[in-house]
């Protein structure tokens, strides 16, 4: 018996010894190069700028590619990129860009105005089937005709005047176009590499880019690393020796990694940890250009009555919600468009239980009596659930209305929300560029986020008219007019709060990183202090 036991014990010891050996291997590693690692959320769907649509992909795009313009690290405003300068003509509907002389791909091939034309035509080509193609198509004249297959590529009003001069015509004087050009859907891509390698062109061994960094390694679900691109036109400002993108979806694991010093920048914080990290000086909650809101089904009773929608929007306390539930310093929202330069939020606190009750009574539901049972639809998530429960409780308490909760996983929810199979649904929108239009144009009749089937001819007209106006107060006034129809008069949706961006990063250690409303932080400018 004893022998048997000691035999097994030896085996057990031997197996731990195997593990212990592994532990020692990587001990003494030279820590010379400056590496910057960050939590990047989901595994990127693609590295091809024309095939991406998410935030993780956007972060990688900023390292590996550069469009005509880029984002400033300070305030996310557009800064010259591949184009060194530009000018508007033709009442702001034509833009002419001067391409830098020394821009080239990481493999040394030159980038010219023709490269830009070829790249954008690829983006707009229906065969590319890019998920974000609607974005450039919104701006460029003739883009929709080509993308919809009604016309050939010659319909697209972009052209290379000579090797170093690129020109485009817009559908109207869209004053926010330059800011929008920094978006990845306007990306410039290496057609020569794409032709050679097909969809494998983004593999590290084939990769060609024009950003401050170039792809070094891509292990799916493990990491993406990028190292400085020696052929970048401003290579001398790039200070990091390596950027490491870690795809981590588990927020708690990511948070632990940051607390343990295993990662330099954590791009989110778990909801239940916010109270704990508030006292830390590496926790940053800053305004983010996004609105969390509920959509009403505008066509179905009782929500076809604007007074019912207004009563529901007035009938709960948002300050309480952001203080007790979301906790990260989100701001109560009463209008769709957050405060922006030249565009103050159109509506202040209008919560008023008495008024809400009155409106409800006028609509035929005094004290909530006879109000049909309905559901709040939201996608499965702890915080969406808590918010819905809070609103459910408040509506019951304040207005006497019963509502049930219905959570669905993401794709089912999206399909139902986009088709309008709901009564009240949760939604959120993050601005693509810093202009009120990014929050408004999607609610025109038949628009892309208009599952609530909102349709008001005055609203549509105001949005369309604003699109033909030059920058300035008159245009902003027109947009205010549009939002007044949308929110103040019709209350088609119910804004709840404005997002905050949550980041954890030691700003004593890292420079070239600033909090801005687009939450965009180009790695090009980040350096070790």
């Amino acid at each position: 018996m004893k022998k048997a036991l000691s035999f097994l014990l030896i085996l057990a010891l031997a197996s731990t010894a195997v593990f212990a050996n592994g532990q020692q291997g990587d001990g003494a590693m030279a820590k010379e190069p400056v590496e910057f690692s960050l939590i990047n959320g989901a595994e990127p769907e693609s590295l091809d700028p024309h095939l991406i649509q998410g935030v993780p992909e956007h972060r990688i795009y900023e390292s590996l590619f550069e469009g005509l313009v880029g984002y400033s690290w300070e305030d996310a405003s557009p800064v010259p990129g591949v184009a060194e300068s530009w000018e508007a003509s033709n009442e702001g509907t034509t833009y002419t860009f001067k391409i830098r002389k020394d821009v080239m791909w990481s493999d040394g091939v030159a980038i010219t105005a023709h490269t830009v034309v070829d790249s954008w035509l690829r983006m707009l080509d229906p065969a590319t089937a890019g998920p974000y193609v609607w974005f450039p198509a919104m701006f460029i004249k003739g883009a929709n005709d080509f993308n919809s297959g009604e016309a050939g590529p010659e319909a697209v009003q972009i052209r290379a005047i000579d090797d170093m001069t690129f020109q485009m015509d817009l559908v109207g004087p869209l004053p926010y176009v330059i800011g929008a050009l920094a978006h990845y859907s306007f990306g410039i891509v290496p057609m020569h590499a794409i032709e050679k390698y097909g969809n494998e062109w983004t593999s590290p061994e084939n990769f060609v880019g024009n950003g401050p960094f170039v792809l070094e390694e891509w292990v799916p679900q493990d990491k993406i690393t990028a190292v400085p691109n020696p052929n970048y036109w401003e290579a001398e400002v790039v200070q990091l020796d390596r950027v490491i993108y870690l795809p981590v979806e588990d927020l708690n694991t990511a948070h632990n990694m940051f607390l343990n010093g295993e990662v330099d920048w954590d791009t989110n914080v778990p909801l239940d940890q916010i109270e704990n990290v508030k006292v830390r000086d590496d926790y940053w909650a800053t305004p983010y250009l996004g609105t969390y809101y509920y959509v009403f089904q505008n066509e179905v009773a009782p929500f076809d009555n604007p007074n019912v929608r207004k009563a529901l929007a007035m009938g709960f306390n948002r300050q309480n919600l952001v203080d007790k539930i979301t906790k990260a310093g989100q701001l109560p929202a009463f209008s769709m468009v957050p405060n922006m330069a030249g565009y103050p939020a159109i509506q202040d606190d209008n919560e008023d239980i008495a008024e809400a009750k009155k409106l409800l009574a006028e609509a035929g539901y005094p004290g909530g009596e006879g109000f049909p049972k309905f559901e709040i639809l939201y996608n499965t998530s702890e915080s969406h659930k808590k918010i819905a429960e809070y609103i459910q409780h408040e509506w019951k308490k304040n207005l006497g209305i019963d509502v049930e909760l219905n959570n669905q996983e993401w794709k089912t929810y999206l399909s139902n929300r986009n088709q309008g199979n709901f009564q009240v649904a949760r939604a959120g929108w993050i601005g693509d560029y810093q202009d009120p239009n990014t929050f408004l144009d999607m609610f025109v009749t038949g628009g892309g986020m208009n599952g609530g089937k909102y349709s008001n001819a005055n609203y549509d007209a105001a949005i369309t008219e604003a699109a033909t106006m030059e920058a300035g107060p008159a245009r902003m006034k027109k947009l205010v007019e549009a939002e007044t129809y949308f929110i103040k008069e019709d209350q088609s949706v119910m804004p709840i709060y404005y997002y905050v961006a949550l980041n954890m990063i030691d700003m004593e250690k890292w420079g070239g990183f600033n909090h801005n409303v687009l939450d965009t932080h180009p790695t090009k400018d980040i350096y070790l202090k």
């Binding site: 769907e45 590295l47 494998e200 983004t202 799916p220 679900q221 493990d222 981590v248 399909s415």
Partner: protein, 309 residues
């Protein structure tokens, strides 16, 4: 025997076909599709995408297209991850899941048998009770609790280990420790209970009594006679356990960010990534079927009472 093996092996093909067909139908029945997005794409873009992935064809045609691809070893392009084919993701991530699962199952088997024997030999003493209490904890506490608790203790409090990562990262092999422990815990518990009860059964059997009467030492009796007989139920448990540990490692892979196949299993269904989910299901069911097949073969060597025709 050879005839039996061939017969069983060929029998795997119709099983796999039924699984593929069912999975194909169920996936298409799920609401929502791969191209549903936050901001709806225009009908034309959607039509373009559907044409690109042949979703505009009739269901039977799509099915036949898919099957003929599979026969040629082509799993098709992923709907979500557009830079590579499904096969690329399966072949890069499956080895990590296999490595993790194999080590975890080896550890679970070894420790489970060890603890089970000790408990059986000391039946109804404190050793037995504490071993079985540990086993009950292992069976009842879910992995998503065990994992974070280990991380809290060993990475956050004691700072002995990195929180997460994989052998391909800068921390190397030491990253295996916590995921292996977490993943093996419930299997260890099951095996410990199984081996305890089967050792207790065998120890009272006639051939062990005979061995004792012959005057053999306890060590020889345990290693040569008891263990061999007691292994049978464990072997039959190991087949499904192996495929279970590979498919069930999703939670552990997520917590400790291991680049395995488990994440794709969950994410691809959420994304309605039809080809990816089909690919993963085919790989998983092949493993399951193969393991059951292997167990049946091994059984015949271990137990002389079983004969195959």
């Amino acid at each position: 025997m050879t005839k039996y093996i061939i017969k069983r092996f060929l029998g795997m093909i119709p099983t796999l076909f039924v699984i593929i067909t069912l999975a194909f139908i169920i996936m298409r029945l799920a609401p929502g599709g791969p191209f549903d997005q936050e901001r709806q794409v225009s009908d034309l873009v959607k039509a373009n995408l559907e044409a690109k992935y042949h979703l505009d064809e009739s269901m039977p045609k799509q099915f036949i297209r898919y099957l003929s691809g599979i026969v040629r070893g082509d799993f098709g392009p992923s709907f979500k991850y557009s830079d590579h084919d499904v096969a690329f993701f399966i072949f890069t991530s499956l080895p990590h899941s296999l490595l993790l699962g194999t080590i975890a199952l080896l550890l679970a088997t070894f420790m489970g048998v060890f603890v089970g024997i000790i408990a059986a030999l000391n039946q109804n003493t404190w050793i037995d009770y504490s071993a079985m209490s540990l086993a009950v904890i292992g069976i009842s506490v879910p992995l998503f609790v065990v994992g974070p608790v280990l991380m809290l203790i060993f990475a956050m409090k004691l700072q002995w280990l990195p929180t997460s990562g994989w052998i391909t990262g800068r921390d190397g092999w030491v990253t295996l420790l916590m995921p292996v422990l977490t993943l093996s815990f419930p299997y260890f518990a099951n095996i410990a209970r199984l081996s305890r009860s089967s050792v207790l059964d065998v120890i009272r059997s006639d051939y062990v009594r005979t061995a004792k009467a012959k005057g053999l030492s306890q060590t020889v009796i345990i290693l040569k006679h008891v263990l061999k007989g007691a292994m049978l139920p464990i072997v039959s448990y190991l087949g499904p356990a192996f495929s279970g540990i590979i498919t069930g490692s999703v939670v552990v892979e997520k917590i400790f960010r291991i680049p395995g196949l488990g994440n794709f299993f969950v994410q691809s269904s959420l994304n309605r990534d039809y080809t990816m989910i089909m690919g993963v299901i085919i790989v998983y069911s092949t493993i399951l079927i193969l393991m059951n097949f292997l167990v049946d073969i091994i059984y015949s060597f271990l137990d002389p009472r079983i004969s195959y025709r």
